[in-house]
């Protein structure tokens, strides 16, 4: 009984600490950016580069851009993947798009950055981009013959042209500024500009009670719930209730609750940017550089959003709300479960299996990623748990690359569209590339220089080229007339 309670409090503590801390400053703007990308960027602005007559050096980067800008949920990923494959640029760009979408979209990047650090987010982005294009090219080469049997249709689907409106660009820039202002840990954002001490003598007792309810161990990198955190969680619950009333039918028009929900969201960001301290005299609240930056970015976003057409603004709010509604409950449940499981795993197990950056560690990480399925973004808190338990960053990156790309869901989807043999090849390539990515990043973290790193990458590319040439010769030899 005691043990079960211990586990439950571990889950609750993990969850409360996540919700209360800096995560909000990242997730809240990220949901609005994801909504803006889905609603305000006309898809033809990017998909017109994905038609079948497009040159290779255009279609692969365009596929990656589509993965990062257009595809935040499966509603877009599946049809666009099938469309690029069957009616557009073909297998290679379709695979690049599919591989890059789960790692390169704004929600994944922002969330990885805030939980695991900016360096991790950057490594995940760059390696997924490079290797996504690599895997796409390889698949196109391996199945070059199949790829020429495109449907005998014109690429009218990809011929439409469109431009992104200036107001949409303005909104996106302001939101990205908001995200950066909220998450970057640099001077002058961290500077203290001034503060007041509210004479609330019960603040100290309250803080002590919060720490008692949600016990934490600072030595393990855990964070307790502060007074500020409790305030943020309360604001978050209020946003949830008002958004349900104000945004569920936003397509038909807004109401009082719409304004309330948006106002509360802005207030939450501002509160999260302040610095709270508990003293014997009361509650000390300090204005930071971050508060000013967040305030300015919010103001800019509001100014830009006013320039949007009414339909666009409503579609934007709906998509943002839909993403929040769809992903946030999954994250809450996932983070809770991670908090429970963490108490059951001995750090020695992780350190033995993947504590070093070697072939075994990376292989174990990739295997785990292939066989476990976590819903959207939950792989990030799972990765944080592994990092805290002593996993080496190299294998951790290998896991982060393999897990979202190779979920059962995505494999079934790929198989339905491109057939089984291509799916097997894809899974094999992803596993291989993820391991290589893990080894490279691990070596980088361990302090190996640029030269050795690029030498390793070049050796890997050479081995691949030789293997491909050999495969190609064998296939040509098998063809009649050679």
């Amino acid at each position: 009984m005691d043990f079960a309670l211990h586990l439950l409090s571990g889950g609750a503590g993990n969850l409360a600490a996540y919700l209360a801390a800096h995560v909000l400053l990242c997730l809240l703007p990220a949901f609005f950016i994801a909504g803006a990308l889905a609603a305000l960027i006309p898809k033809p602005a990017i998909t017109r580069w994905l038609g079948r007559s497009t040159a290779v050096h255009v279609s692969y980067p365009a596929a990656a851009a589509a993965g990062s800008l257009l595809a935040v949920c499966s509603c877009t990923i599946v049809p666009l993947f099938a469309g690029i494959y069957r009616k557009g640029a073909g297998l290679g760009p379709a695979i690049t798009f599919l591989f890059f979408a789960p790692a390169g979209n704004i929600l994944a990047l922002a969330y990885t950055g805030s939980i695991l650090g900016a360096e991790f987010a950057l490594a995940r982005f760059v390696l997924c981009l490079l290797f996504g294009i690599g895997i796409g090219l390889l698949m196109a080469l391996l199945f070059a013959r199949d790829d020429q049997r495109h449907d005998a249709q014109t690429d009218v689907l990809f011929a439409t042209q469109a431009r992104i409106g200036p107001a949409a660009v303005g909104v996106l820039l302001a939101l990205v500024a908001l995200l950066i202002a909220g998450t970057l840990r640099l001077w002058p954002l961290t500077a203290t500009l001034g503060g007041v001490t509210l004479p609330l003598p019960w603040a100290e007792a309250w803080q002590a009670a919060l720490f008692r309810w949600v016990p934490f161990d600072a030595a393990k990198g855990e964070e307790g719930v502060s007074v500020q955190g409790a305030l943020l969680i309360a604001l978050l619950l209020l946003i949830g209730v008002s958004a349900w009333k104000g945004l569920e039918n936003i397509v038909e028009g807004g109401n009082r609750f719409t304004a309330l929900a948006l106002g509360l969201a802005a207030a939450t960001l501002l509160v999260a940017s302040l610095r709270f301290g508990v003293e014997s005299a009361g509650l000390r609240i300090e204005l930071t550089g971050r508060s000013v930056a967040v305030g300015l970015a919010l103001w800019a976003a509001l100014q830009q959003a006013r320039r949007l057409e009414l339909d666009d603004a409503r579609a934007w709010l709906w998509e943002s709300w839909r993403f929040s509604k769809q992903i946030f409950p999954l994250l809450v449940a996932g983070v809770f479960v991670v908090g429970v499981i963490r108490l059951l795993i001995q750090p020695e197990w992780i350190q033995t299996l993947a504590g070093r950056n070697d072939l075994q560690g990376n292989a174990v990480a990739v295997l785990f990623g292939v066989f476990m399925y976590f819903p959207t973004l939950v792989e990030v808190p799972v990765a944080r748990m592994f990092l805290d338990l002593g996993m080496h960053p190299g294998p951790l990156l290998a896991y982060l690359m393999a897990d979202p790309e190779l979920s059962l869901q995505s494999m079934l989807m790929v198989a339905a569209v491109i057939g089984r043999s291509k799916t097997f090849a894809y899974v094999g390539l992803v596993a291989l590339f993820s391991m290589v990515a893990g080894l490279l990043y691990g070596a980088w973290v361990d302090g190996i220089g640029w030269q050795a790193l690029s030498l390793g990458l070049a050796a890997f590319a050479a081995v691949l080229a030789v293997a491909l040439a050999w495969l190609n010769r064998r296939r040509l030899a098998a063809l009649p007339g050679h």
């Binding site: 609603a39 898809k43 998909t47 257009l70 949920c73 499966s74 509603c75 877009t76 599946v78 049809p79 666009l80 099938a82 469309g83 069957r86 009616k87 009218v156 689907l157 397509v251 038909e252 339909d311 579609a315 709906w318 839909r322 509604k325 769809q326 989807m413 339905a416 569209v417």
Partner: protein, 81 residues
């Protein structure tokens, strides 16, 4: 009777689109049969890049977004039969 198809794998937007379309049909007094198309192969038969898609009288009228009730009513009125 008019056939209205909702294209999509069952994500939140598809359910929302169906609700909007049903309300529009009821408000306009149009008798229509609603069909949900969830199989990827059948969805790809129409030229669309993202779901949800709305097909009225076998013509794709919108895709990748949720139209308003007023829009759906116009399409219903314009559909033959």
């Amino acid at each position: 009777m008019l056939t209205v198809k909702i294209l999509g794998s069952g994500c939140a937007n598809c359910r929302k689109l169906e609700a909007v379309a049903r309300e529009a049909a009821t408000a306009a007094g149009v008798q229509a049969e609603f069909v949900k198309v969830t199989a990827m192969q059948d969805i790809m038969a129409y030229d669309l890049l993202s779901t949800p898609g709305l097909v009225i009288g076998d013509k794709l009228v919108s895709s990748g977004r949720i139209p308003t009730q007023a829009e759906v009513r116009q399409w219903l009125a314009a559909a033959p039969g």
